[in-house]
Symmetry: C2
Subunit: 314 residues, 2 copies
């Protein structure tokens, strides 16, 4: 088995770039592709810029997913942030840290998995870097373009309804079982929802925590009815009665959480069938301190054991 | 001393963003700043995209430079790649991996050092990420804009003269002494040289290796006269007679290496006084296999012990 230290950084990169070049369609907006000091692309009116990192033994374990799925995941978690602005991903950079003992075939699968996920989403891997490090880590920078309205976390108003796409708790349940499934693709849903949303965020740290980010940015509170949460069947099977509370905080759902003003509810209903996923009303934005109150069907407050994910506090 | 684990990811980020907001001038092209899912900026006709990583105990040691200098360095090594395309840096993303034991004051100094370096170069820190990791690592993505001609590694022709900005070996000599000085700023020089260069690259892996990249991309060989190299005084002092050979391969100079056709030599001489740094003719591009031949003043081949930097082969 050939490892990175047998091949070297430059030879590995040269071979990867040749493989990528062979399978790629022409892109008239790509002026200088990977392999130079920097890529050069034609711009757009408004650019959306984000970066996110996956670290071995922090965000994933090697046994939980194969290298191609890891590459896809690195793209997907960044595409989720771009979707949450109402934008589409366009240009991607992939910076890898890898130990010298890493098998070349694994790093190939990872990079090609990333590039394939980018291409299926209408984006392109245009550059990157590989550095020696004590462990595997993938840092992605993604440049997106906004075809229409851009939505931040800050625009919600009191009384806006809160909706979430897809289901919650599936990724959390899989993680408990030692697996990490591919995140859902919500690019199309994000662009459509941006037409009606007053605020939007993706659910990465956990529904309650991410809705708290919207509360802080919008200067509002929020109420979530726990019995309305679209809990994933896998989470119900694994956790039974505790599944809804788990789904409220488990995180890594990469679904979209949106606030929608009453005046745009009809427009939302019109576009909902074309989102390609479920859309569930789970609560509303309220006046008051920037925090999320979780209630049951009778309006009684539900206390959750866990808030959400923070890298440095457990 | 407060450490990251005492403060938490979200509280640290919130405080950093508040500090950055206080000291910042308005930028009409920044539509959504840091703190949301992604930043939103007004685009430009041509964008230059690059990423690079600095890993603790691979690219630097904590004793070699303070945290503010490390932040500045992370910006500078990326700005160097942008300059080598003939572009100016505009939007920056900073993804950090840090251990939970890291002092908050150090991470603050690092992020503010980065942001300050970006601002002095006309760029802006618009987003980032912080993740727990076993060691400190900084991955930067930099979006630049090309005011004029873009220059790649691939355009050199046989007979073109090869020039290098500034001096070589200063960083290598400092590293041997346990220091890492700030890289030179060559943004203005890069934009100016792009008007006359047929190919350009920044010297990061070492002059010979980086010129070999130009050779490969342009399908040419190159000859470098070792006695013409602008060897840093610090390197001469430390290495004496071996200083020129050291400067040819030491790397991390972050100077610009350019090929210039004979027809544009007069234009080059006209702009040289305004580059803000030395410019030295060190060799020429030749027909033949893509490799660099180093020769002495009498044209005899000089063999170098070391090729240049490769992350996985030593």
């Amino acid at each position: 088995m050939r490892r990175l230290r047998d091949v070297g950084e430059h030879a590995w990169l040269a071979r990867l770039l040749a493989r990528l070049a062979r399978r790629r369609r022409r892109d008239a907006r790509l002026l200088v592709g990977p392999g130079d000091d920097a890529a050069v692309v034609r711009g757009a009116a408004r650019l959306v810029l984000t970066t996110d990192t996956l670290v071995d033994r922090v965000h994933f374990r090697r046994g939980w997913l194969g290298p191609a799925a890891l590459g896809r995941r690195a793209f997907a978690v960044n595409a989720s942030d771009v979707a949450a602005m109402g934008a589409v991903p366009r240009w991607a950079l992939l910076a890898l840290e890898a130990p010298a003992r890493m098998p070349v075939a694994e790093l190939d699968a990872l990079a090609l998995g990333f590039a394939g996920a980018a291409e299926r989403a209408g984006a392109r891997l245009v550059g990157g870097n590989v550095a020696r490090g004590p462990h595997l880590a993938l840092t992605v920078a993604l440049v997106g373009e906004a075809p229409g309205r851009v939505v931040t976390r800050a625009g919600a108003r009191a009384g806006d309804a809160v909706y979430v796409t897809g289901v919650l708790g599936a990724s959390g349940a899989a993680r408990r079982a030692g697996r990490l499934p591919d995140p859902p693709r919500r690019t199309g849903a994000g662009v459509a929802l941006a037409r009606v949303a007053s605020a939007m965020i993706d659910v990465s740290d956990g529904l309650v925590q991410d809705l708290t980010h919207v509360c802080r940015a919008s200067g509002l509170g929020a109420t979530v009815e726990i019995e309305r949460l679209p809990v994933a069947a896998s989470s119900r099977r694994a956790l039974g009665a505790r599944a809804a509370a788990f789904a409220a905080t488990a995180g890594e759902d990469y679904e979209l959480l949106v606030a929608v003003p009453a005046a745009r509810e009809r427009a939302l209903q019109a576009l909902a069938p074309r989102l390609g996923c479920r859309l569930t009303r789970i609560g509303r934005m309220t006046r008051g301190r920037p925090r999320v109150t979780v209630v049951d069907a009778r309006g009684r407050r539900v206390r959750l054991a866990r808030g959400g994910f923070d890298h440095f506090r457990r």
